[in-house]
């Protein structure tokens, strides 16, 4: 059986940063397993710029950002198994993988990092009524067809959902000569970053219909048109508000789902709020020696934060191999307070950190607000924000001193001022 100190599942930005960080901490038998024919993951199809402002202090395209890590990897002895699919991870950290080159393999890891990323929600997940013609794509699939494989997916486009990938594709299709007729969002606010509304929609006069959704898709063989209706506060279509668009393509940007089949199969404790594994402060899952990082844990807005989180996971995996299990004395569980939909990490072992970095999302758009961290009825920390939005992940730092004062439970909530 092939034995490694660390096996990283997934060679996207999370897996690359995790492997490099573990190498820097002294591990010398590291394997990255990647199912595609190259490293870099989804960054390879994200040809737009805006990546790396935090990590590299410059603005890079997706392929450039991934390329930096692939270059750094060349100076290490980290092994990479491409075109290799992991089928199962056992609780004993055996990784079952299959590839054309090596057939069926069972690999043993002293530690394992889960970095499988996420996938897109599809038409089936949101149940759009109507015909079932060709021409309905998830935005990311269309992005891969267009940017890597060289296929123009359509000429007259309606985009459902205002997530960042949908917005980016609105601009991309327009530049390639398509007409993007509308971007339709069921919520009263956009799920994407403000800058993308500006530079992808407003720059090209593409209308954004908030509180609207597609209520019918028509077409024999290929999409011929869609009906868009306004929705009420409960997201039910309002009769009489129908608009018709003649289009040949519908792109869906309606959310991402962490890809956790392997995690569930290994019976690793999941968090129903994130659809990812429950993790400790160092990105360790409830199964000792197995860590998770990046979009497989929770869906990020920025790859830079994926990199930072994944380096933490890589360093922690190295510490696990070199020093054994972390001390869980004084364990703190994080809970959602008002307006907060999840936190990552969900558990903090104060003895194991200097500062605990906590990510979370809010459930509504707020103006000037305060993030309040409560231990029972006692407020132990507060953070001011000029505005909060569900589309923007929030990040706070809890210093060790505060954690030592906390009880066994901390609640993170928001209050609009």
């Amino acid at each position: 059986m092939n034995h490694y100190e660390l096996i990283v599942i997934g060679g996207g930005p999370a897996g690359l940063a995790a492997a490099l960080a573990a190498y820097e901490q002294g591990l010398r038998k590291i394997l990255i397993v990647e199912r595609d024919k190259e490293l870099g993951g989804i960054l390879n199809q994200c040809i737009h710029n805006g990546f790396g402002l935090h990590h590299f202090k410059e603005e890079l395209t997706g392929p450039e950002y991934a390329g930096r890590f692939v270059e750094m990897l060349k100076d290490t002895n980290v092994e990479v198994a491409l075109d290799t699919m992991v089928l199962e991870i056992t609780r004993e950290r055996e990784v079952h993988a299959v590839s054309v080159a090596k057939g069926y393999q069972v690999l043993k890891g002293d530690s394992v990092i889960l970095a499988m990323g996420c996938r897109e929600r599809t038409r089936g997940a949101i149940a759009i009524p109507g015909d079932r013609p060709a021409g309905v794509f998830t935005a990311g699939t269309a992005q891969r067809y267009l940017n890597m494989e060289g296929y123009m997916v359509g000429r007259r486009i309606v985009i459902l959902g205002s997530g960042d990938i949908g917005l980016i594709m609105a601009r991309r299709m327009t530049l390639e000569g398509a007409k993007v007729l509308a971007c339709v969002e069921v919520m009263p606010y956009s799920g994407g970053l403000n800058r993308n509304i500006v530079q992808c929609l407003q720059d090209y006069d593409i209308p954004l219909y908030l509180s609207h959704t597609i209520t019918d898709i028509r077409g024999k063989g290929r999409v011929e048109g869609v009906t868009v209706s306004q929705v009420d506060a409960r997201r039910n279509p309002i009769p009489g508000t129908e608009m018709h668009f003649d289009c040949d393509t519908v792109l869906l940007s309606v959310g991402l789902i962490p890809e956790n089949e392997l995690t569930r199969q290994a019976e690793i404790t999941m968090d129903p709020r994130t659809n990812g594994a429950v993790v400790y402060e160092n990105m360790e899952t409830a199964l000792p020696g197995v860590f998770a990082c990046g979009n497989v844990v929770h869906v990020h807005d920025l790859v830079d934060f994926v990199t930072a989180e994944s380096m933490r996971a890589g360093r922690a995996a190295a510490a696990y191999v070199q020093k054994g299990e972390a001390d869980d004395a004084g364990l703190i569980t994080l809970k959602n307070g008002d307006g907060v939909t999840y936190t990552v990490p969900q558990r903090i072992r104060p003895g194991n950190v200097e500062n605990a970095e906590v990510f979370f999302r809010v459930n509504r758009v707020c103006g000037a607000s305060e993030i309040r961290v409560m231990s029972g009825d006692t407020q132990i920390a507060k953070f001011k924000r000029a505005h909060l939005a569900p589309g923007e992940m929030e990040r706070i730092m809890l210093p060790k001193k505060l954690l030592e004062k906390a009880g066994s439970e901390l609640t993170v909530g928001i209050v609009e001022l």
């Binding site: 024919k37 190259e38 390879n44 040809i47 737009h48 710029n49 805006g50 402002l53 603005e59 395209t61 997706g62 392929p63 450039e64 390329g67 692939v70 267009l146 940017n147 890597m148 494989e149 060289g150 530049l175 390639e176 000569g177 970053l193 403000n194 800058r195 509304i197 500006v198 530079q199 720059d203 807005d301 920025l302």
Partner: protein
């Protein structure tokens, strides 16, 4: 007074630009926001990213970008220019594909190392 959302970084600061007062910017979190606010109302620019055809690599398209921001009005002209580009692998990240593209002063550069494959 014009209100803008800064697009320099993902933070998306809410800017206010005073056209009557030499495009003075408020609401910006950093100096780049001030520069963006002024430029957006005087000469708006964008970095263009796209792809060009490539032969002999394991993909059919090679990602490219302008190496600096170009006038917004030039974007579609640059897209037309990229239509005619045909690369052959190998190419290296940072390699100049077109110098001073369409007279913008910006070069079109390659964004990815693509090796030659048989």
């Amino acid at each position: 007074m014009k209100e803008l959302i800064c697009i320099v970084c993902p933070k998306g600061c809410h800017l206010k630009v005073d056209e009557a007062n030499d495009y003075a910017v408020t609401g910006n979190g950093c100096p780049r926001g001030a520069a963006y606010g002024k430029a957006e109302l005087t000469n708006p620019t964008r970095v263009l990213t796209s792809t060009v055809k490539i032969d002999g690599a394991h993909h059919r398209r090679c990602p490219v970008k302008t190496d600096r921001a170009v006038a917004k009005g030039k974007l579609f002209e640059l897209m037309d220019l990229l239509d005619g580009v045909q690369l052959t692998a190998p190419v290296k990240v940072g390699q100049i594909i077109i110098e001073n593209a369409a007279g913008t002063g910006a070069n079109i550069v390659c964004c990815k190392n693509l090796d030659a494959v048989k």
